[in-house]
Point group: C2
Chain length 255, copies 2
Amino acid sequence: MESGRPYSRLLNRLDRTAVLTSADKQLLAELPLTVRNVAAGAAIVPAEEPQCILVVNGFACGSKRVGVGRRQITSLFVPGDIAGLNGLLLPGSDDNLSPLGPAVIASLPYQALEEMLDHSPRLAQAFWRQSFIEAAILREWIASLGRREALARVAHLICELVVRLQAVGVAKDHSFTICWTQMDVADACGISAVHANRVVQELRRLELVEWDAKHLQIRNWDALAKIGEFSDDYLQHYVRPVPPVRYDFDRHLAC
Amino acid sequence: MESGRPYSRLLNRLDRTAVLTSADKQLLAELPLTVRNVAAGAAIVPAEEPQCILVVNGFACGSKRVGVGRRQITSLFVPGDIAGLNGLLLPGSDDNLSPLGPAVIASLPYQALEEMLDHSPRLAQAFWRQSFIEAAILREWIASLGRREALARVAHLICELVVRLQAVGVAKDHSFTICWTQMDVADACGISAVHANRVVQELRRLELVEWDAKHLQIRNWDALAKIGEFSDDYLQHYVRPVPPVRYDFDRHLAC
DNA sequence: CGACCGATTGACACAGCTCAAATGAAGTGG
DNA sequence: CCACTTCATTTGAGCTGTGTCAATCGGTCG
């Protein structure tokens, strides 16, 4: 049961993304996932052997170094998310994946993924859709970084986190475990660590959130969403159980 | 010949992205592209009939409104680029596409695209790869908006523009036509219009670029790239003629 | 107990924003 | 061909959000 979690996470995610046949689910279950714990600062993907990863517990992120020492987190992964998919078609475009806090990660060799997608165009579609969903989130981050001030950015980030976590059942009642450093918050929101601290304090002072070392609890969702100018539109496809189908790869299997 | 341009643009782009058979090229040539001119502020995609667009000449962008009236450009499209692909699998996730300056745009109904992808997994792969390339650019923008100051952001944007334009043969010798408003620059870089003006003047004063109403000429590439902290790594797959193949959809056609 | 790391606080500097006004360029219509 | 409008660029002045630097505090671990 414990060893089944990676698969249930993956299923839980993909099931919202596409209608999967039992054959598809079977293929997913046969993926050779290698689960392991990674400590807060550790490297996830060995440079010599690029691969996909599936977040099982905790958080992972892709980040870039810019200028001297400055770090910017460019994407965020919660349990059930697949990171590094792009490396499948874009060799060498590693995202510098790392955990945010301690995390449980399953690695998935590209080759196995490849073979699976070969056998199911429907799954290929599902994974393509995943990458569109990820891109939608990237665009929202761009809007946030470009046009919102620090308080709103952090509020927005928190809102996104809850919505995504609740969608996969890792958060309940606007409350979840989060072992981030305030530096992590800073690097995600494009602000300095000192200012991240002040912003978090402000959110606490306004009684919008409770946030200690390992746990975050939203006290006033409406106000937080308002300050963060948060609308879950861009997460619709992330959250929605089964989206309407426009383009169905499977049709040409009927030939 | 004039009517052939949209197809050659599209071919020019995809040819760098994947190895296309002549059958694939034939399929592409059969796409029902509707070419038209759009004025600077006009709408590109009618809300009642979402579709893909192919930029033939000029620029297009996806943007978001955030807060009161503030606009953030989230993605940028140059000739040969396909915008709105995500709508194919994510209905309703319109990007609010609009031209930047006057542009020549070809519209492409989702249904036609759908049918084409049904007939060629290789093309489906090529388009999937395109969306990964787009996402790589989004990540770089996040880094820029989060961690670079205004001067560097604008410099970086200019560098990206030249590289992309030169890749499709629309710019030569670090020089190209660009009918943007300084407000457009501001909205792309997440700064105010007034500051965008000051930054552009600074770039002129440093003799890095010449930039009048309709034309931009880079005077000192090295210095510009240095100020913008620009490295074309993230554009490798955009530029590179034919990338090494890791995952090839076509293999399962051999069965 | 000492070392270390992250959170916190204060003081100060500055990049970039807002407001407001002036200038210039490009139509538009009489 | 000349007012007149409109829109983009430019300039100045003051304000503010955020960064930097530096010190302190608190917890954790060996």
